[in-house]
């Protein structure tokens, strides 16, 4: 077990020294403390190497210590691509490095770095574009070399869920700006949600040094956090990532296994800024870190980052880092300042007084590696002679740690998603954001402010703007100014031997970006697609700014003109489990559902309903359907039709309304009668059908198809919002359970249960409507003939549905009643030649094509689609839905098979079944108009074979309709 030396408290804000934990990395045991990240615990044990780079397999170690780089991606058990600098250690966890061949320490693929010139920029893009088939040769090699992490194929899903959240004001980021904004908004009376990505509030106050003495940040942090915690109006969410901004402040927040969907009235983005690296040769060696990473290591985790450091800086913050290092026992060999001018005198004096050498106007030109590029051992320093140019002469310093800062890039992602514009301020060498939508505010370093006072004031101002919008305050904003210019304008020092990385994730060097522009990819978006810059896990947090600068320079434009690539959601990687977890998938069941299950029904979806297809095992489907159909024809069957859509039309204008909606005439439909009702849309296409019952002069009950009723109901209500007829339209699908009792013995079964309706043919004829009681249950009775036998549709209030089913099944026992399913019903109606809208029709089918002109009344002044029907019917008709027949031993066409006319497609088969009643294969198909008369034949292509079918007159069964009218 490795030794472990930590800095003394108050260093180590996040760790609990009372709770040691052990874990393993690469098979070796390590110890850390509760609160340690995997990376901090490993660094405390001097284990720097955590992964190998994507392309060249170079050794990599933490760069940011804040989850903003891809260097710390490790495999944690079955989960690949876990950020070691964000994931906290737990007792016994097993982590491993990624992207190596052999061992992490001795990666056999490290040689790839020497072949860099054979894998130039755009390598994948250019190599696999053409010729055709080249991908097949390369795929296995690339999959092997370029993959990150290992998938656990025996993965078991865990419980992830979602929740909505609501707040007046959300503050994203709890640095000084965010804390200040949250307190101001809460003091103003708003409810505030403060969202922080890290486990601890404070942002830069938790790690950054703001003054020479080094007290300010801690004092201020304690003070602000105490106030926040004590405030009743503030709710705090730590360890929570705001992953995007969507319209009207709809924000996805991810915390643990829960995905929150936050709706905020006002949104204050205080997301901070990303410290930027300096581009020089070997700037990726382990031991080279951002200044903020080094202070995070010390302050948050009490880890001493090295013994001898060099600080490379473009601003004053590097000096403060040097002081912090010195205080924690790290020798500082030199501060290498990119700037020619000195910082403020007190700061310079303070570091010089402590014996730190300051080298102005110089840069680290190359970092010197130990064997195998495992760690930094020194730096070569050169004087800057012009932008990006250095002197010939060099000084070498030994060190085991290099801290660097070239300035900051605003964490602009959420704001750009909200529509903000990025523009580059040449003077400050920094991007600024403007043009925010109403209700979105910006505060702090993301707003280009860097001194603590300015940042705090800016936070308060953002809160004041939010309070204005909420009408909670009329307070005026305070002017804010900040003189600090932490960005050095050209921290890029290209080296002839390369390995001067712009993008660590994708192993992209300065020349790769420049070469992309030379190949003609001048637009920064094209540079991204060609070179893959910014496409890695860190999504351009560090590569965007140097890329913009390089593209601007090599295309003779300004950085504002080149801009940066779009930052789309998600901000941080999110798991599919977060998106997929707890998906709502509503299922609708009829009240008889459990009876069907008890009877062994094969249930199938019908919209979001579940319906019995037939009763029996799926292996013998055809047998069950045939038996059920024969039973209905010979005896009596019962089918649950509760899913049938239902709409009631009531009021003085009910008949007028029906007359306008449906194609048929309804004004004079007699009370107590049903009528077939077809609906066309404004294009004249048949979109639904049903049966209309006239219950009284001003009351219609009309059915619609299971999947079509929602649309029919919406169309009806929309039409009447315009027509203003005296009519009420009520959707009653779920209010009624319904069955169809069908077969020669149907009357005998029903008679046993009904004593208030005369069921005789004379008193209750075909197509009549009656009301009464079945087994004491109030019922609507319709004599309809969809399956072509004597039949009663019985509609009862849903609460009685199961009792009705039981009563009918019980009364039917003597007559050998048998339930039948939807697929059987489809066969039965096909035998009768009835079409099913949307199965036997398509988006072009007008009434003429479907032989439904008998159901269209063209004498009434209007129905929806009437004019379009007139227009299409006046055109020469090209196709028609016909019935066809084939011998039982023929190959059976399936729905969708093509009907051919010569070498042209004339139509397709829409329904096709074996019919024992017809002793044939029967079906419906769209055929060429020339082949539509009975006696013609049509050619159907079935699996490459062409079959000739006879066109026959419909219906196939009981042509005189004697059976249904019994």
């Amino acid at each position: 077990m490795s030794s472990e030396k930590r800095l003394k408290a108050p260093m180590g804000l996040l760790i609990d020294r009372e709770k040691p934990l052990s874990f393993s990395f690469e098979g070796k045991q390590y110890r850390g403390f509760a609160g340690d990240s995997i990376a901090s615990a490993l660094l405390a044990n001097q284990q720097w190497l955590m992964s190998r780079s994507f392309k060249y397999h170079r050794p990599r170690a933490p760069l940011t210590m804040a989850g903003q780089d891809a260097n710390t991606l490790v495999q944690l058990g079955g989960e690949p691509n876990v950020l070691a600098d964000r994931e906290m250690i737990r007792e016994g966890i097993t982590a491993e490095g990624q992207n190596y061949n052999g061992t992490l320490e001795g990666d056999k693929d490290a040689y790839l770095g020497h072949f860099g010139r054979f894998m130039p920029v755009g390598f994948y893009y250019r190599s696999f574009f053409k010729p055709m088939g080249v991908w097949d040769k390369w795929e296995s090699f690339i999959r092997d070399k370029a993959g990150l992490g290992k998938l656990d194929l025996s993965f078991k899903p865990e419980y992830y869920d979602k929740k909505y959240l609501f707040t007046d004001v959300v503050v994203i980021g709890s640095g000084p700006a965010g804390l200040s904004a949250a307190l101001k908004a809460a003091d103003g009376g708003a409810n505030v949600l403060l969202v922080e990505e890290m486990p601890l509030l404070g942002g830069a106050l938790t790690y950054n040094r703001f003054d020479i003495e080094g007290h300010k940040a801690d004092t201020l942090r304690r003070e602000l956090i105490d106030k926040v915690n004590a405030h009743n109006n503030i709710e705090v969410m730590t360890d929570t990532v705001c992953n995007a901004w969507f319209t009207d402040n709809y924000l996805p927040l991810i915390k643990g296994k829960r995905f929150y969907k936050l709706r905020a009235k006002e949104c204050i983005v205080a997301s901070g800024a990303y410290e930027q690296h300096v581009v020089f040769r070997n700037n990726d060696l382990p031991g080279i870190m951002l200044c903020s990473a080094v202070t995070r290591l010390m302050k948050l985790y009490a880890v001493k980052p090295g013994s001898k450091a060099v600080v490379l800086t473009g601003n004053d913050d590097g000096y403060l880092t040097a002081l912090e290092l010195l205080e924690n026992g790290v020798e500082v060999a030199a501060i290498v300042d990119l700037r020619a001018e000195h910082p403020w005198p007190e700061l310079l004096g303070s570091v010089q007084q402590k014996g730190i050498q300051v080298i102005q106007g110089s840069t680290v030109y190359e970092a010197l590696p130990t064997k195998g590029n495992k760690h930094i051992r020194g730096v070569e320093i050169r004087t800057i002679v012009a932008e990006g140019q250095v002197s010939e002469s060099a000084t070498t310093l030994e060190c085991d740690l290099l801290c660097m800062t070239a300035g900051y890039m605003p964490a602009y992602q959420l704001l750009c998603q909200a529509g903000a514009q990025l523009s580059y301020d040449d003077d400050a060498a920094e991007f600024t954001l403007s043009g925010l939508p109403q209700g979105v505010h910006i505060a702090g370093s993301v707003n280009g402010l860097h001194t603590l006072d300015a940042v705090l004031a800016d936070g308060a101002n953002a809160a004041i703007r939010a309070l204005h919008n909420l009408k909670l305050s009329e307070e005026a904003e305070q002017p804010v100014s900040c003189q600090a210019k932490p960005n050095y304008s050209w921290p890029i020092f290209s080296h002839p031997k390369g390995k001067d990385f712009v993008d660590y994730d994708e192993d992209l060097q300065a020349k790769d970006i420049v070469n992309a522009t030379r190949l003609g990819y001048r637009d920064v978006q094209l540079v991204k697609r060609f070179s893959t810059v910014g496409m890695g896990p860190s999504q351009g947090r560090h590569s965007a700014l140097p890329t913009a600068r390089l593209v601007a320079k090599s295309t003779d434009r300004t950085v504002t003109q080149t801009g940066v690539t779009t930052a789309r959601p998600p901000f941080a990687p999110e798991k599919l489990a977060h998106v997929a977890g707890r998906i709502f998938d509503p299922r609708r069941h009829t009240p008889m559902h459990h009876r069907h299950l008890e009877l062994g029904a094969k249930m199938i979806p019908a919209g979001n309903w579940r319906r019995p297809a037939y009763y029996g095992d799926a292996a013998q489907r055809d047998r069950w359907i045939r038996e059920e159909a024969e039973h209905v024809r010979a005896k009596v069957g019962l089918i649950d039709v509760s899913t049938l859509g239902g709409i009631e039309i009531r009021g003085a204008d009910a008949a007028e309304f029906m007359n306008r909606i449906y194609t048929f005439a309804f004004l004079k439909q007699p009370v107590g009668k049903t009528r077939y009702a077809v609906l066309t849309n404004e294009h004249g296409v048949v979109i639904d059908d049903g049966v209309a019952c006239r219950i009284s002069e001003d009351h219609f009950y009309v059915t619609a198809t299971t999947s079509g009723v929602e649309r029919v109901y919406r169309d009806m209500t929309k039409w009447n919002a315009q027509w203003r007829l005296d009519v009420d339209i009520l959707h009653v699908t779920s209010a009624f359970a319904a069955v169809n009792l069908a077969g020669p013995d149907a009357r005998k079964v029903l008679q046993q249960l009904v004593d208030d309706v005369d069921l005789s043919t004379e008193a209750f004829p075909y197509l009549a409507y009656r009301e009464g009681h079945v087994a004491g249950i109030p019922a609507r009775l319709l004599r309809v003939g969809f399956v072509g036998e004597l039949g009663y549709e019985i509609h009862v209030p849903t609460r009685y549905g199961e009792a009705l089913w039981d009563a009918l099944m019980d009364a039917g026992k003597t007559f050998d009643i048998r339930p039948f399913g939807v697929e059987t019903q489809r066969l039965l109606r096909l035998e009768k030649g009835h079409l099913i809208v949307s199965q036997d029709t398509d988006g072009m089918s007008h009434p003429g094509e479907l032989d439904l002109t008998w159901a269209v009344n063209r004498k009434k002044p209007f129905f929806v689609g009437c004019r379009s029907v007139d227009i299409v019917m006046a055109q020469p008709q090209t196709r028609k839905l016909v019935g066809f027949k084939l011998p039982l031993n023929s190959t059976k066409p399936e729905e969708g098979h093509l009907v051919l006319k010569g070498d042209k497609i004339a139509g397709n088969v829409t329904s096709c079944e074996y019919s024992s009643a017809s002793q044939a294969i029967i079906g419906l198909a769209f055929a060429d108009i020339a082949d539509s008369e009975p006696g013609s034949s049509i050619s159907i292509r079935v699996e490459g074979e062409e079959i000739l079918a006879d066109v026959v007159k419909l219906p196939f069964y009981d042509p005189d309709n004697l059976r249904q009218e019994m």
Binding site: F584, P586, R588, L730, A735, G776
Partner: protein, 224 residues
């Protein structure tokens, strides 16, 4: 004495099979869950009230008819009132009203007679007893629980007692009504009777982290 079971009646709750361990009483010609056997009162209860009496009416004359019948009706669209004798009246939109008997109110009021009385031109019945299941979510953390299935802010500040919203919950349409019983906040939820079982399961899942459990109507009548 016969043990009351849902199957004894023609009229049944859409989800009576969910209440295997419950004790029932006969209400309105059906079995109403009284309590779940062998269970202490949970912090939050989910109660199936689907069989309780209720009817709906709508149309231009519906509001006037309610006033004429001596029933105060909610003044604002999307609100509700509860009378002293346990009759709840919902106003859905501008011209639709539902009249419901809360648990134990059935004895006081004959809703069938009332429904007969509330008819005439410009008044159309609404079959809310059969189209909708009636579930009551009562007790603590109601807004938090609902936030796991519903995108509308149902915290007390924006959804006070007497408020009603028509929205989507767990991706099915529904009506959520805020009222109180025995000092407990109650969300009465009305949703498609065909997906009642689905919604029941979705709500129980949402309640689990708050120590919620199914309960009977006694939970609504006992003050804690």
């Amino acid at each position: 004495m016969t043990v009351i079971k849902p199957e004894l009646f023609h009229s049944r709750s859409f989800i009576y099979r969910k209440h295997r361990q419950a004790e029932f009483a006969e209400v309105n010609g059906a079995a109403q869950t009284l309590s779940y056997a062998g269970q202490d009162d949970p912090l939050t209860g989910l109660i199936d009230l689907s069989v309780l009496p209720r009817f709906g009416l709508r149309g231009p004359q519906a509001g006037e008819a309610l006033i004429a019948a001596g029933l105060l009706h909610p003044q604002q669209p999307n609100s509700l009132t509860v009378s002293d004798d346990g009759v709840m009246i919902l106003r859905l939109g501008r011209t639709e009203y539902w009249v419901l008997a809360l648990p134990n109110a059935a004895a006081e009021r004959d809703l069938d007679a009332l429904q007969q009385q509330l008819s005439g031109p410009g008044i159309y019945p609404v079959y809310c007893h059969d189209s909708y299941t009636w579930l009551a979510l009562a007790g603590e953390n109601l807004a938090d629980i609902m936030a796991k299935v519903c995108a509308v802010d149902l915290r007390e500040d924006s959804f006070a007692p007497g408020d009603l919203v028509m929205t989507s919950l767990a991706r099915v349409g529904g009506i959520i009504c805020h009222h109180q019983m025995a000092g407990k906040p109650v969300f009465s939820i009305f949703s498609d009777s065909a997906s009642a079982g689905y919604l029941w399961d979705a709500l129980l899942d949402a309640m689990a982290e708050f120590e919620g459990a199914p309960a009977g109507q006694n939970f609504l009548l006992s003050s804690q």
